[in-house]
C-alpha cells in the first residue's frame, strides 16, 4: 500500500514538473482585447487608427480641397515623432490610415522615404536593363499636395504600485505649397495600471 502511495506521489510530481516545463501557443482573434503589462499594445494602435481614419476622411479639409482644386488630394506620409516614455512604432496605425486612403478612393497616396528611394533605384536600373518600350521615364512622379506628420506624447503619474498613463497621438496634415496646416487629428488614451 505504501509503495503504491509513493508511486502515485512520484507520478503526480512528475506530471506537475512536465506541465511546468511545457509551452503552450494558441492562435487568438486579432481583434480580441488583451492587456498584460499595461504598456502600449495592439489595442491602443487599433483604437488610434480607427479614430484617425474616421477624422481624416470626414473633415472639412477634404471638401475644401475638392472645391478649390477639383481633384483628389495627394498625400505623402512624413515622420512621426515618438516623445512618449515607451518604444512605440507608429507604422502599425499609420499603415491603417494609408490603407484607408486607398480603399476609400478619396485621397491619393505617394510613396516617400526609403521605399521611394528603392523605386527610384529600380527606375534607374531600368534605364540600362529594360526594353525601351517598357522603360519608365524620369520626372513624371506625382507631386504631393499635403504631408502627414505626427507625434506621440505621454504623461505618467505613478505612486508605489499604481500608475496612470496618458497617451496623446496627434497627426497633422500640412499643405506643401502654402505650409498651412489644414487638419489636425488626435487620439487620447488613458490607462490606470495597478501592479
Amino acid at each position: 500500500m505504501k509503495t503504491l502511495g509513493f508511486k502515485l506521489v512520484f507520478v503526480a510530481a512528475l506530471a506537475v514538473f512536465m506541465q511546468s516545463c511545457s509551452r503552450s501557443v494558441t492562435r487568438i482573434d486579432p481583434d480580441k482585447e488583451i492587456d498584460i503589462s499595461g504598456k502600449w499594445n495592439d489595442v491602443d494602435s487599433k483604437m488610434t487608427a480607427e479614430a484617425m481614419v474616421e477624422q481624416i476622411l470626414s473633415e472639412l479639409w477634404l471638401k475644401n480641397h475638392m472645391r478649390d482644386v477639383k481633384q483628389k488630394p495627394v498625400v505623402i506620409v512624413g515622420f512621426v515623432k515618438n516623445k512618449s516614455h515607451e518604444h512605440i512604432d507608429a507604422e502599425t496605425f499609420m499603415k491603417d490610415i494609408e490603407k484607408s486612403f486607398i480603399t476609400s478612393q478619396k485621397v491619393r497616396l505617394v510613396q516617400g522615404g526609403e521605399k521611394r528611394e528603392a523605386i527610384r533605384g529600380e527606375r534607374a536600373d531600368q534605364q540600362d536593363n529594360a526594353s525601351v518600350s517598357t522603360m519608365k521615364k524620369w520626372g513624371l512622379e506625382v507631386g504631393a499636395d499635403y504631408m502627414l506628420q505626427g507625434s506621440i506624447n505621454s504623461i505618467v503619474d505613478a505612486l508605489d504600485r499604481k500608475k496612470v498613463v496618458y497617451y496623446q497621438i496627434d497627426l497633422e496634415l500640412t499643405n506643401i505649397q502654402t505650409n498651412e496646416v489644414v487638419w489636425i487629428g488626435d487620439k487620447k488614451i488613458k490607462k490606470f495600471v495597478k501592479n
Binding site: S84, H85, H87, E91, G113
Partner: protein, 148 residues
C-alpha cells in the same frame, strides 16, 4: 600646313566656348527671367538652392517613427532593476573574495600554481567539505528502502 591646322583648331575652340557661353547665359536668363507668380517672394531662389542641397537628408525620415523617448518611473521595473543590481553586487563581492591571493577559495582562483608548494600557499577551501544535498536525500531514501 601645320600653321593652318592650328589656326582652324583655335577658331573651333573659340566657337565652342562661344556656344557654351551662350547656352549658359540662356539658362541663367531663363531661370531668373521666369515670371514671378502673384505675391511670390522674389528671393525664392535662395530658399530653393538651400533646400535642394539637403533634400535627401530631410526626406530620409519619411514614413518612419523617430524615437525620442524619456524614462518614466515604473514600480515593477524599478524593483527588477534593484534586484539585478543587488545580485550583481553580491556576485562581484564573491568574485573579489575568491580572487584574494592568500584568502579563501583555492579552486576558484584564476591561477592555482603547481603542486602543493605553489606560492599561493594553503588557503581555506570552501568546497573541501561540501556535500551535495541530493546525495543526502539519495542516501536517506536508500536507507529507508533497506530498513522497510
Amino acid at each position: 600646313l601645320f600653321e593652318r591646322l592650328n589656326l582652324i583648331k583655335t577658331i573651333d575652340m573659340k566657337k565652342g566656348r562661344l556656344i557654351t557661353g551662350l547656352i549658359l547665359g540662356l539658362m541663367v536668363s531663363m531661370a531668373y527671367g521666369q515670371e514671378l507668380l502673384p505675391d511670390q517672394n522674389p528671393n525664392y531662389m535662395n530658399a530653393a538652392q538651400k533646400y535642394a542641397a539637403q533634400s535627401a537628408e530631410l526626406t530620409a525620415t519619411q514614413s518612419t517613427t523617430i524615437q525620442d523617448t524619456y524614462e518614466a518611473y515604473d514600480w515593477r521595473e524599478a524593483k527588477a532593476e534593484a534586484r539585478a543590481l543587488r545580485l550583481q553586487r553580491r556576485h562581484e563581492i564573491r568574485t573579489l573574495r575568491y580572487m584574494r591571493p592568500n584568502g579563501f577559495g583555492y579552486y576558484n582562483r584564476p591561477f592555482r600554481g603547481y603542486g602543493f608548494n605553489n606560492w599561493y600557499g594553503y588557503g581555506y577551501n570552501p568546497h573541501y567539505n561540501y556535500i551535495n544535498p541530493l546525495l543526502g536525500v539519495g542516501v536517506g531514501l536508500g536507507m529507508y528502502h533497506l530498513l522497510h
